[in-house]
Symmetry: C2
Subunit: 125 residues, 2 copies
DNA sequence: TTCCCAAATAAGAACTGTTTGCAATTAGGA
DNA sequence: TCCTAATTGCAAACAGTTCTTATTTGGGAA
């Protein structure tokens, strides 16, 4: 992969943002590099997530988000402020194997997203 | 809620289909009732899922699907044929409470979708 | 039974998030 | 430095969903 300034700018944006959407990455990069196009942001995000440099989170009912934390973990999503944060769910270890054996279903991966209210929003009514 | 012929047709379609998308419901109803509009299908599906008559599944990276099975369960989604089937994951019982206590995050619900290859597709290369 | 009107509808425009086709530009090896 | 494949910007296409507006209809009231 060529090492373009666009890619560098996107990697920097990813470092400074927390679980951003493609659009948030675009806004961040665009503010210091106005000529970048959204298509480029989407293309680069897809490419680097395919190569395993970042995680591509497909959030039910919302825009996809990107995560620089690579180890196995899942997400909490606040229905009020939209914030997404990480959570580990050790209970799920071994589930893949069990389901493979019971259902003959070959599991490539899984995503668990909890939705609710984050600790900030839960007090604000 | 008024008991319209459109709603009846949609309920019948839901009974005869397995985890259909809104579009599949539309196609099914449309074939015997050509005047129905897509907006109506979406509106009715949203209404009856809000009322708890069906489950509204938001599949990451794909169209939403609707499920007439109401008890707690999760889903396997085949990346090849797109089929979605049910699976129960008892390992997750109690996880909500644990996360609430540890993260202060008030969980309204969660969805777990396994992706991979179903037993039919896993043999077809 | 007929009338009435809030609720529901059809049609399609608009919207959000994402991908694609294409011509122009560019990184980086020869 | 030159060459070429990779990458870019743009606009247009796309899928899924919601909104808008005028029109129709279910079902309670008279």
């Amino acid at each position: 992969m060529k090492n373009t300034i666009q890619k560098t700018a996107i990697m920097n944006a990813l470092m400074s943002l927390d679980h951003p959407t493609a659009d948030e990455v675009y806004e961040c990069v665009h503010s210091e590099f106005p000529s970048i196009s959204k298509a480029t942001v989407y293309r680069i995000l897809n490419r680097i997530s395919e190569e395993g440099e970042i995680l591509h989170l497909q959030i039910p009912g919302g825009a996809d988000r990107f995560d620089t934390t690579l180890c196995v973990h899942h997400h909490l999503r606040c229905n009020k402020c939209g914030k997404v944060c990480d959570v580990s769910v050790p209970e799920l270890e071994g589930v893949e194997k069990r389901i493979k054996e019971e259902n003959g279903f070959s599991i490539a991966g899984y995503r668990l997203v909890f939705s609710g209210l984050c600790s900030d929003c839960v007090y604000k009514k």
